[in-house]
């Protein structure tokens, strides 16, 4: 009994820590960069877009871990993957806009993509707490 309760608690702590760190790291880099991480401050929309890709990858890794640990259903993992595919597509659209010189549309698409990323992260945070 003790072991089961402890195991669940451990996963919650580790999971919440990782998701929070991912969001904070992404936000810190977007806003001011972080010398401790060795990552440069993005200059312009194109470089801000570039940091979305590792954020997508982190959510995909977390979802894989949750699925393999039996914490989420196959259908739920599929739903996250669908969101990530939409997010990946939107990020590409933002990239195309910025390459075409349309900063306004690129920024708007980037904001939309960040909203989707937050949805996926919220889902994972909820599942980590179960």
């Amino acid at each position: 009994m003790y072991k089961v309760v402890y195991s669940k608690s451990r996963k919650q702590v580790v999971g919440a820590y990782v998701v929070i760190l991912a969001v904070i790291a992404f936000a810190a880099i977007q806003l001011q960069g972080c010398a401790q991480l060795g990552t440069p401050v993005p200059q312009g929309t194109e470089q801000s877009i570039a940091y979305l890709y590792p954020a997508i990858g982190s959510v995909a890794d977390e979802t894989t871990s949750l699925l393999q640990a039996g914490k989420i259903k196959k259908s739920e993992a599929q739903n996250v993957l669908t969101i990530l595919e939409q997010l990946r597509g939107l990020t590409n659209v933002a990239k195309d806009y910025v390459k075409a010189g349309d900063e306004g549309k690129a920024t708007a698409t980037l904001d939309l993509a960040k909203g989707l990323l937050k949805q996926a992260q919220n889902f994972i945070t909820t599942k980590k707490g179960n």
Partner: protein
Amino acid sequence: MVPIIAGATMVLEGIDLVTSILTKLQAAGSIIQKAQSEGRTHFTDEEWIEVQKTADVPMDKLRAAIAAAPADKV
């Protein structure tokens, strides 16, 4: 004794996952750094491919995990 071992496991597991996130961020960061050091704000097509891999490789792993997972119990 058990809490100590479990605590150490938690820390190691946490470090492992955090390292995974940081590695991805740094992969993109190093490409940005290179562009900035050359006075560019734009990436070459090859650099974009490298950046996109930080999303594509984990997404492929997720697809494989979904394919290998048993069907949901009704």
